[in-house]
Subunit: 209 residues, 2 copies
Amino acid sequence: MSSAAKSPKGSPITLTVLSLLHFKPLHPYGMQRLLKQWGKDQVVNVGQRTSLYRAIDRLLGAGLIAVRETERDQQYPERTVYEITDAGREATRSWLLEMLREPRLEFPEFPVALSNLMLLAPDEIERALTDRLTAVRAGQAAQQRSLAETARFGVPRVAMLENEYAVALAAAEGDWLEGLIADLRSGDLTWSAEELIAVAQASEAQAPQ
Amino acid sequence: MSSAAKSPKGSPITLTVLSLLHFKPLHPYGMQRLLKQWGKDQVVNVGQRTSLYRAIDRLLGAGLIAVRETERDQQYPERTVYEITDAGREATRSWLLEMLREPRLEFPEFPVALSNLMLLAPDEIERALTDRLTAVRAGQAAQQRSLAETARFGVPRVAMLENEYAVALAAAEGDWLEGLIADLRSGDLTWSAEELIAVAQASEAQAPQ
DNA sequence: TCATCCATAGTTGCACTGAAACTAGGTCCG
DNA sequence: CGGACCTAGTTTCAGTGCAACTATGGATGA
Protein backbone atom coordinates (compact mmCIF):
# COMPACT_ATOMS: atom_id res chain seq x y z
CA MET A 1 0.00 0.00 0.00
CA SER A 2 2.88 2.33 0.64
CA SER A 3 5.29 4.10 -1.64
CA ALA A 4 7.66 1.32 -2.64
CA ALA A 5 6.56 0.13 -6.06
CA LYS A 6 9.14 -2.27 -7.41
CA SER A 7 12.76 -1.32 -7.21
CA PRO A 8 14.08 -0.78 -10.74
CA LYS A 9 17.46 -2.23 -11.36
CA GLY A 10 20.65 -0.33 -10.98
CA SER A 11 21.99 1.44 -14.02
CA PRO A 12 24.69 4.05 -14.45
CA ILE A 13 22.21 6.93 -14.38
CA THR A 14 20.05 5.81 -11.50
CA LEU A 15 23.08 5.03 -9.37
CA THR A 16 24.59 8.39 -10.18
CA VAL A 17 21.44 10.27 -9.22
CA LEU A 18 21.19 8.44 -5.91
CA SER A 19 24.84 9.06 -5.22
CA LEU A 20 24.53 12.79 -5.87
CA LEU A 21 21.54 13.04 -3.57
CA HIS A 22 23.60 11.53 -0.76
CA PHE A 23 25.38 14.86 -0.54
CA LYS A 24 22.46 17.24 -0.81
CA PRO A 25 19.00 17.69 -2.34
CA LEU A 26 19.09 18.81 -5.94
CA HIS A 27 16.90 19.58 -8.93
CA PRO A 28 17.57 17.70 -12.17
CA TYR A 29 19.35 20.49 -13.92
CA GLY A 30 21.52 21.00 -10.87
CA MET A 31 22.51 17.35 -11.05
CA GLN A 32 23.53 17.71 -14.63
CA ARG A 33 25.50 20.85 -13.85
CA LEU A 34 27.36 19.22 -10.98
CA LEU A 35 28.19 16.16 -13.03
CA LYS A 36 29.67 18.29 -15.75
CA GLN A 37 31.58 20.39 -13.28
CA TRP A 38 33.14 17.31 -11.75
CA GLY A 39 33.95 15.80 -15.09
CA LYS A 40 31.64 12.85 -14.45
CA ASP A 41 30.12 13.36 -17.85
CA GLN A 42 32.95 11.17 -19.09
CA VAL A 43 31.51 8.34 -17.01
CA VAL A 44 27.74 8.75 -17.27
CA ASN A 45 25.87 10.03 -20.23
CA VAL A 46 24.04 13.17 -19.21
CA GLY A 47 24.50 14.97 -22.48
CA GLN A 48 20.81 14.67 -23.20
CA ARG A 49 18.66 15.17 -20.22
CA THR A 50 16.03 12.74 -21.47
CA SER A 51 17.49 9.74 -19.70
CA LEU A 52 18.14 11.76 -16.56
CA TYR A 53 14.55 12.93 -16.21
CA ARG A 54 13.20 9.47 -16.86
CA ALA A 55 15.58 7.90 -14.39
CA ILE A 56 14.37 10.39 -11.80
CA ASP A 57 10.77 9.47 -12.54
CA ARG A 58 11.55 5.80 -12.00
CA LEU A 59 13.39 6.43 -8.77
CA LEU A 60 10.53 8.57 -7.55
CA GLY A 61 8.01 5.89 -8.45
CA ALA A 62 10.03 3.30 -6.58
CA GLY A 63 10.26 5.49 -3.50
CA LEU A 64 14.04 5.69 -3.63
CA ILE A 65 13.92 9.46 -3.85
CA ALA A 66 11.25 11.98 -2.84
CA VAL A 67 10.23 15.51 -3.74
CA ARG A 68 11.72 17.96 -1.28
CA GLU A 69 10.14 21.13 -2.60
CA THR A 70 9.11 22.87 -5.77
CA GLU A 71 10.77 26.23 -6.02
CA ARG A 72 9.41 28.83 -8.30
CA ASP A 73 11.97 31.50 -8.72
CA GLN A 74 10.74 34.10 -11.11
CA GLN A 75 13.79 34.40 -13.28
CA TYR A 76 14.07 30.66 -13.79
CA PRO A 77 11.57 28.01 -14.85
CA GLU A 78 10.12 25.86 -12.14
CA ARG A 79 12.50 23.50 -10.43
CA THR A 80 11.59 20.37 -8.50
CA VAL A 81 14.11 19.55 -5.82
CA TYR A 82 14.58 15.89 -4.87
CA GLU A 83 16.10 14.21 -1.85
CA ILE A 84 17.12 10.64 -1.17
CA THR A 85 15.09 8.31 1.06
CA ASP A 86 16.27 5.52 3.35
CA ALA A 87 15.17 2.97 0.77
CA GLY A 88 17.29 4.90 -1.70
CA ARG A 89 20.33 4.66 0.51
CA GLU A 90 19.80 0.92 0.78
CA ALA A 91 19.44 0.50 -2.96
CA THR A 92 22.58 2.52 -3.59
CA ARG A 93 24.63 0.24 -1.39
CA SER A 94 23.45 -2.97 -2.97
CA TRP A 95 23.69 -1.69 -6.55
CA LEU A 96 27.18 -0.42 -5.94
CA LEU A 97 28.39 -3.65 -4.41
CA GLU A 98 26.94 -5.62 -7.30
CA MET A 99 28.53 -3.43 -9.93
CA LEU A 100 31.89 -3.69 -8.22
CA ARG A 101 31.73 -7.42 -7.68
CA GLU A 102 30.70 -8.84 -11.06
CA PRO A 103 32.24 -7.77 -14.35
CA ARG A 104 29.10 -7.77 -16.43
CA LEU A 105 29.16 -8.75 -20.04
CA GLU A 106 29.02 -5.61 -22.12
CA PHE A 107 29.40 -5.40 -25.85
CA PRO A 108 31.52 -2.47 -26.97
CA GLU A 109 31.90 -1.71 -30.65
CA PHE A 110 35.60 -2.05 -31.21
CA PRO A 111 35.90 -5.80 -30.63
CA VAL A 112 33.14 -6.33 -33.17
CA ALA A 113 35.10 -4.37 -35.72
CA LEU A 114 38.24 -6.30 -34.84
CA SER A 115 36.50 -9.60 -35.33
CA ASN A 116 35.58 -8.60 -38.88
CA LEU A 117 38.88 -7.08 -39.86
CA MET A 118 39.51 -9.68 -42.55
CA LEU A 119 36.95 -8.02 -44.80
CA LEU A 120 39.30 -5.08 -45.35
CA ALA A 121 42.71 -4.79 -46.96
CA PRO A 122 45.79 -4.64 -44.71
CA ASP A 123 46.82 -1.15 -45.78
CA GLU A 124 43.46 0.47 -45.10
CA ILE A 125 43.27 -1.31 -41.77
CA GLU A 126 46.67 0.07 -40.93
CA ARG A 127 45.55 3.60 -41.71
CA ALA A 128 42.36 3.28 -39.67
CA LEU A 129 44.13 1.77 -36.68
CA THR A 130 46.77 4.46 -36.79
CA ASP A 131 44.02 7.05 -36.52
CA ARG A 132 42.59 5.19 -33.58
CA LEU A 133 45.95 4.96 -31.88
CA THR A 134 46.33 8.72 -32.12
CA ALA A 135 42.91 9.22 -30.55
CA VAL A 136 43.55 6.69 -27.80
CA ARG A 137 46.86 8.28 -26.87
CA ALA A 138 45.27 11.73 -26.88
CA GLY A 139 42.50 10.51 -24.60
CA GLN A 140 45.02 8.95 -22.28
CA ALA A 141 46.99 12.18 -22.08
CA ALA A 142 43.83 14.18 -21.42
CA GLN A 143 42.84 11.86 -18.58
CA GLN A 144 46.32 12.13 -17.13
CA ARG A 145 46.19 15.90 -17.27
CA SER A 146 42.83 16.08 -15.53
CA LEU A 147 44.14 13.63 -12.93
CA ALA A 148 47.10 15.87 -12.18
CA GLU A 149 45.02 19.01 -12.19
CA THR A 150 42.28 17.86 -9.83
CA ALA A 151 44.94 16.45 -7.51
CA ARG A 152 46.50 19.92 -7.38
CA PHE A 153 43.16 21.34 -6.25
CA GLY A 154 43.10 19.02 -3.26
CA VAL A 155 40.57 16.52 -4.60
CA PRO A 156 41.30 13.24 -2.82
CA ARG A 157 42.37 10.20 -4.80
CA VAL A 158 39.22 8.23 -4.00
CA ALA A 159 37.22 10.75 -6.03
CA MET A 160 39.38 10.20 -9.12
CA LEU A 161 39.61 6.45 -9.35
CA GLU A 162 37.59 6.20 -12.55
CA ASN A 163 40.16 8.53 -14.02
CA GLU A 164 43.03 6.31 -12.96
CA TYR A 165 41.24 3.30 -14.36
CA ALA A 166 40.63 4.98 -17.69
CA VAL A 167 44.34 5.82 -17.97
CA ALA A 168 45.33 2.23 -17.23
CA LEU A 169 42.98 0.78 -19.84
CA ALA A 170 43.81 3.40 -22.47
CA ALA A 171 47.50 2.65 -22.01
CA ALA A 172 46.86 -1.05 -22.51
CA GLU A 173 44.75 -0.47 -25.60
CA GLY A 174 47.38 1.85 -27.03
CA ASP A 175 50.18 -0.63 -26.49
CA TRP A 176 48.21 -3.43 -28.02
CA LEU A 177 47.32 -1.29 -31.03
CA GLU A 178 50.97 -0.40 -31.54
CA GLY A 179 51.87 -4.06 -31.64
CA LEU A 180 49.12 -4.86 -34.09
CA ILE A 181 50.02 -1.99 -36.39
CA ALA A 182 53.66 -3.05 -36.33
CA ASP A 183 52.69 -6.59 -37.32
CA LEU A 184 50.56 -5.30 -40.17
CA ARG A 185 53.37 -3.10 -41.42
CA SER A 186 56.02 -5.78 -41.18
CA GLY A 187 53.88 -8.38 -42.89
CA ASP A 188 53.84 -10.63 -39.82
CA LEU A 189 50.07 -10.54 -39.96
CA THR A 190 48.59 -11.60 -43.30
CA TRP A 191 45.75 -13.76 -44.52
CA SER A 192 43.88 -14.71 -47.64
CA ALA A 193 40.23 -15.12 -48.43
CA GLU A 194 40.76 -18.73 -49.55
CA GLU A 195 42.42 -19.67 -46.30
CA LEU A 196 39.55 -18.22 -44.29
CA ILE A 197 36.88 -19.91 -46.36
CA ALA A 198 38.67 -23.22 -46.09
CA VAL A 199 38.77 -23.00 -42.30
CA ALA A 200 35.14 -21.92 -42.13
CA GLN A 201 34.06 -24.86 -44.26
CA ALA A 202 36.08 -27.27 -42.16
CA SER A 203 34.33 -26.09 -39.01
CA GLU A 204 30.99 -26.34 -40.73
CA ALA A 205 31.56 -29.95 -41.64
CA GLN A 206 31.06 -30.86 -38.01
CA ALA A 207 27.77 -28.98 -37.75
CA PRO A 208 24.20 -29.90 -38.76
CA GLN A 209 23.07 -28.78 -42.22
CA MET B 1 11.84 4.91 -55.93
CA SER B 2 13.95 1.78 -55.59
CA SER B 3 14.75 -0.39 -52.61
CA ALA B 4 17.18 1.74 -50.65
CA ALA B 5 15.22 3.32 -47.81
CA LYS B 6 17.60 5.06 -45.48
CA SER B 7 20.69 3.26 -44.40
CA PRO B 8 20.47 2.54 -40.68
CA LYS B 9 23.63 3.16 -38.78
CA GLY B 10 26.19 0.55 -38.05
CA SER B 11 25.84 -1.34 -34.83
CA PRO B 12 27.44 -4.50 -33.55
CA ILE B 13 24.55 -6.69 -34.66
CA THR B 14 23.95 -5.22 -38.09
CA LEU B 15 27.65 -5.29 -38.90
CA THR B 16 27.90 -8.87 -37.76
CA VAL B 17 24.98 -9.97 -39.91
CA LEU B 18 26.42 -8.29 -42.98
CA SER B 19 29.81 -9.80 -42.30
CA LEU B 20 28.39 -13.30 -42.00
CA LEU B 21 26.51 -12.94 -45.26
CA HIS B 22 29.77 -12.09 -47.01
CA PHE B 23 30.66 -15.77 -46.72
CA LYS B 24 27.37 -17.34 -47.66
CA PRO B 25 23.58 -16.90 -47.58
CA LEU B 26 22.03 -17.83 -44.24
CA HIS B 27 18.78 -17.91 -42.34
CA PRO B 28 18.61 -16.11 -38.99
CA TYR B 29 18.88 -19.17 -36.86
CA GLY B 30 21.86 -20.33 -38.88
CA MET B 31 23.55 -17.01 -38.18
CA GLN B 32 23.04 -17.44 -34.49
CA ARG B 33 24.33 -21.01 -34.63
CA LEU B 34 27.47 -20.00 -36.50
CA LEU B 35 28.17 -17.13 -34.15
CA LYS B 36 27.97 -19.42 -31.16
CA GLN B 37 30.11 -22.04 -32.86
CA TRP B 38 32.83 -19.50 -33.52
CA GLY B 39 32.65 -18.06 -30.06
CA LYS B 40 31.53 -14.68 -31.39
CA ASP B 41 28.76 -14.64 -28.82
CA GLN B 42 31.37 -13.13 -26.52
CA VAL B 43 31.54 -10.15 -28.84
CA VAL B 44 27.98 -9.63 -30.02
CA ASN B 45 24.88 -10.28 -28.05
CA VAL B 46 22.89 -12.96 -29.83
CA GLY B 47 21.64 -14.65 -26.72
CA GLN B 48 18.11 -13.46 -27.40
CA ARG B 49 17.19 -13.57 -31.00
CA THR B 50 14.95 -10.54 -30.71
CA SER B 51 17.63 -8.06 -31.64
CA LEU B 52 18.91 -10.30 -34.40
CA TYR B 53 15.55 -10.58 -36.12
CA ARG B 54 14.92 -6.88 -35.83
CA ALA B 55 18.36 -6.05 -37.16
CA ILE B 56 17.65 -8.27 -40.15
CA ASP B 57 14.36 -6.46 -40.75
CA ARG B 58 16.14 -3.13 -40.79
CA LEU B 59 18.85 -4.34 -43.13
CA LEU B 60 16.21 -5.78 -45.42
CA GLY B 61 14.26 -2.54 -45.39
CA ALA B 62 17.40 -0.61 -46.25
CA GLY B 63 18.21 -2.92 -49.13
CA LEU B 64 21.51 -4.00 -47.62
CA ILE B 65 20.41 -7.62 -47.65
CA ALA B 66 17.79 -9.48 -49.70
CA VAL B 67 15.69 -12.60 -49.41
CA ARG B 68 17.35 -15.46 -51.25
CA GLU B 69 14.67 -18.09 -50.77
CA THR B 70 12.16 -19.39 -48.30
CA GLU B 71 12.72 -23.05 -47.60
CA ARG B 72 10.03 -25.13 -46.08
CA ASP B 73 11.50 -28.31 -44.84
CA GLN B 74 8.87 -30.43 -43.16
CA GLN B 75 10.68 -31.33 -40.00
CA TYR B 76 11.70 -27.75 -39.34
CA PRO B 77 9.74 -24.51 -39.19
CA GLU B 78 9.96 -22.21 -42.16
CA ARG B 79 13.32 -20.58 -42.75
CA THR B 80 13.97 -17.43 -44.73
CA VAL B 81 17.44 -17.36 -46.24
CA TYR B 82 19.09 -13.97 -46.78
CA GLU B 83 21.98 -12.85 -48.93
CA ILE B 84 24.01 -9.65 -48.99
CA THR B 85 23.59 -7.01 -51.70
CA ASP B 86 26.15 -4.70 -53.25
CA ALA B 87 24.82 -1.85 -51.13
CA GLY B 88 25.35 -4.11 -48.14
CA ARG B 89 28.96 -4.71 -49.07
CA GLU B 90 29.47 -0.97 -49.33
CA ALA B 91 27.87 -0.30 -45.96
CA THR B 92 29.97 -2.99 -44.32
CA ARG B 93 33.15 -1.36 -45.50
CA SER B 94 32.28 2.10 -44.30
CA TRP B 95 30.86 0.97 -40.96
CA LEU B 96 33.91 -1.14 -40.30
CA LEU B 97 36.33 1.65 -41.12
CA GLU B 98 34.44 4.04 -38.88
CA MET B 99 34.35 1.65 -35.94
CA LEU B 100 38.05 1.04 -36.28
CA ARG B 101 39.00 4.67 -36.64
CA GLU B 102 37.16 6.44 -33.84
CA PRO B 103 37.04 5.18 -30.27
CA ARG B 104 33.43 6.01 -29.54
CA LEU B 105 32.37 7.12 -26.11
CA GLU B 106 30.73 4.21 -24.39
CA PHE B 107 29.59 4.10 -20.80
CA PRO B 108 30.36 0.81 -19.11
CA GLU B 109 29.13 0.15 -15.61
CA PHE B 110 32.32 -0.38 -13.69
CA PRO B 111 33.70 3.17 -13.93
CA VAL B 112 30.39 4.46 -12.58
CA ALA B 113 30.73 2.21 -9.58
CA LEU B 114 34.34 3.31 -9.13
CA SER B 115 33.38 6.93 -9.17
CA ASN B 116 31.00 6.36 -6.26
CA LEU B 117 33.23 4.15 -4.20
CA MET B 118 33.40 6.64 -1.38
CA LEU B 119 29.88 5.76 -0.29
CA LEU B 120 31.08 2.37 0.95
CA ALA B 121 33.46 1.36 3.70
CA PRO B 122 37.03 0.37 2.75
CA ASP B 123 36.72 -3.21 3.96
CA GLU B 124 33.56 -4.01 2.03
CA ILE B 125 35.06 -2.40 -1.06
CA GLU B 126 38.10 -4.58 -0.64
CA ARG B 127 35.96 -7.71 -0.50
CA ALA B 128 33.93 -6.74 -3.56
CA LEU B 129 37.01 -5.84 -5.59
CA THR B 130 38.69 -9.07 -4.64
CA ASP B 131 35.69 -10.94 -6.03
CA ARG B 132 35.98 -8.94 -9.20
CA LEU B 133 39.67 -9.59 -9.51
CA THR B 134 39.03 -13.32 -9.33
CA ALA B 135 36.43 -13.07 -12.08
CA VAL B 136 38.66 -10.91 -14.27
CA ARG B 137 41.60 -13.28 -13.96
CA ALA B 138 39.35 -16.24 -14.70
CA GLY B 139 38.01 -14.50 -17.81
CA GLN B 140 41.52 -13.70 -18.93
CA ALA B 141 42.59 -17.31 -18.53
CA ALA B 142 39.53 -18.53 -20.43
CA GLN B 143 40.27 -16.18 -23.32
CA GLN B 144 43.86 -17.33 -23.36
CA ARG B 145 42.79 -20.95 -23.48
CA SER B 146 40.40 -20.39 -26.34
CA LEU B 147 43.13 -18.46 -28.14
CA ALA B 148 45.53 -21.37 -27.83
CA GLU B 149 42.92 -23.94 -28.76
CA THR B 150 41.63 -22.27 -31.90
CA ALA B 151 45.21 -21.64 -32.99
CA ARG B 152 45.84 -25.39 -32.70
CA PHE B 153 42.91 -26.01 -35.06
CA GLY B 154 44.52 -23.90 -37.73
CA VAL B 155 42.37 -20.80 -37.33
CA PRO B 156 44.49 -17.87 -38.55
CA ARG B 157 45.43 -15.10 -36.18
CA VAL B 158 43.35 -12.48 -38.01
CA ALA B 159 40.21 -14.36 -36.98
CA MET B 160 41.10 -14.19 -33.30
CA LEU B 161 42.12 -10.59 -32.83
CA GLU B 162 39.18 -9.72 -30.61
CA ASN B 163 40.36 -12.53 -28.39
CA GLU B 164 43.86 -11.10 -28.19
CA TYR B 165 42.46 -7.69 -27.43
CA ALA B 166 40.26 -9.03 -24.65
CA VAL B 167 43.27 -10.70 -23.04
CA ALA B 168 45.29 -7.50 -23.17
CA LEU B 169 42.55 -5.41 -21.57
CA ALA B 170 41.68 -8.01 -18.96
CA ALA B 171 45.33 -8.19 -17.95
CA ALA B 172 45.45 -4.42 -17.57
CA GLU B 173 42.26 -4.34 -15.52
CA GLY B 174 43.53 -7.15 -13.33
CA ASP B 175 46.83 -5.43 -12.67
CA TRP B 176 45.14 -2.17 -11.86
CA LEU B 177 42.72 -3.90 -9.49
CA GLU B 178 45.59 -5.61 -7.69
CA GLY B 179 47.22 -2.26 -7.10
CA LEU B 180 44.03 -0.71 -5.81
CA ILE B 181 43.29 -3.60 -3.48
CA ALA B 182 46.82 -3.44 -2.12
CA ASP B 183 46.43 0.28 -1.43
CA LEU B 184 43.14 -0.34 0.37
CA ARG B 185 44.67 -3.08 2.47
CA SER B 186 47.76 -1.11 3.36
CA GLY B 187 45.84 1.99 4.25
CA ASP B 188 47.49 4.03 1.51
CA LEU B 189 44.03 4.88 0.23
CA THR B 190 41.72 6.39 2.81
CA TRP B 191 39.22 9.22 2.99
CA SER B 192 36.61 10.73 5.23
CA ALA B 193 33.13 12.04 4.61
CA GLU B 194 34.05 15.46 6.01
CA GLU B 195 36.99 15.82 3.67
CA LEU B 196 34.82 15.01 0.66
CA ILE B 197 32.06 17.37 1.66
CA ALA B 198 34.56 20.16 2.24
CA VAL B 199 36.02 19.74 -1.24
CA ALA B 200 32.56 19.54 -2.79
CA GLN B 201 31.50 22.74 -1.11
CA ALA B 202 34.65 24.50 -2.17
CA SER B 203 34.01 23.64 -5.79
CA GLU B 204 30.43 24.73 -5.44
CA ALA B 205 31.44 28.14 -4.20
CA GLN B 206 32.58 28.98 -7.73
CA ALA B 207 29.26 27.90 -9.24
CA PRO B 208 25.90 29.69 -9.59
CA GLN B 209 23.39 29.09 -6.81
C1' DT C 1 4.57 -44.46 -20.76
C1' DC C 2 4.33 -39.98 -19.42
C1' DA C 3 7.17 -36.09 -18.18
C1' DT C 4 10.70 -33.27 -19.10
C1' DC C 5 14.28 -31.32 -21.54
C1' DC C 6 16.51 -29.68 -25.67
C1' DA C 7 16.77 -27.92 -30.47
C1' DT C 8 14.46 -25.49 -34.14
C1' DA C 9 12.29 -20.95 -35.44
C1' DG C 10 10.08 -17.12 -34.64
C1' DT C 11 6.89 -13.40 -32.18
C1' DT C 12 5.27 -10.11 -28.65
C1' DG C 13 5.63 -6.87 -24.99
C1' DC C 14 8.09 -4.09 -21.93
C1' DA C 15 11.79 -1.34 -19.89
C1' DC C 16 15.45 1.30 -20.83
C1' DT C 17 19.03 4.12 -23.55
C1' DG C 18 20.41 7.81 -26.77
C1' DA C 19 19.89 11.33 -30.20
C1' DA C 20 17.41 15.10 -31.93
C1' DA C 21 14.17 18.45 -32.07
C1' DC C 22 11.05 21.60 -29.91
C1' DT C 23 9.03 25.01 -26.40
C1' DA C 24 9.90 29.00 -23.84
C1' DG C 25 11.73 32.16 -20.80
C1' DG C 26 16.23 34.89 -19.65
C1' DT C 27 20.85 37.08 -20.33
C1' DC C 28 24.66 38.98 -22.72
C1' DC C 29 27.10 41.03 -26.54
C1' DG C 30 27.83 43.79 -30.38
C1' DC D 1 17.78 44.48 -32.92
C1' DG D 2 19.45 39.94 -33.84
C1' DG D 3 22.02 36.00 -32.58
C1' DA D 4 24.18 33.10 -29.30
C1' DC D 5 23.86 30.90 -25.12
C1' DC D 6 21.91 29.35 -20.51
C1' DT D 7 18.03 27.47 -17.85
C1' DA D 8 14.48 23.68 -17.71
C1' DG D 9 11.86 20.49 -19.38
C1' DT D 10 9.01 17.59 -23.01
C1' DT D 11 8.22 14.73 -27.11
C1' DT D 12 9.35 11.57 -30.65
C1' DC D 13 11.84 8.02 -32.59
C1' DA D 14 15.25 4.34 -33.24
C1' DG D 15 17.41 0.79 -31.13
C1' DT D 16 18.93 -2.72 -27.37
C1' DG D 17 18.03 -6.41 -24.01
C1' DC D 18 15.31 -9.40 -21.38
C1' DA D 19 11.54 -12.45 -20.53
C1' DA D 20 7.87 -14.94 -21.89
C1' DC D 21 5.08 -17.18 -25.29
C1' DT D 22 3.77 -20.30 -29.45
C1' DA D 23 4.78 -24.59 -32.01
C1' DT D 24 6.87 -28.96 -33.40
C1' DG D 25 9.77 -32.89 -32.98
C1' DG D 26 13.40 -35.78 -31.01
C1' DA D 27 15.85 -37.56 -27.06
C1' DT D 28 16.30 -38.68 -22.15
C1' DG D 29 14.77 -40.69 -18.20
C1' DA D 30 11.90 -42.26 -14.00
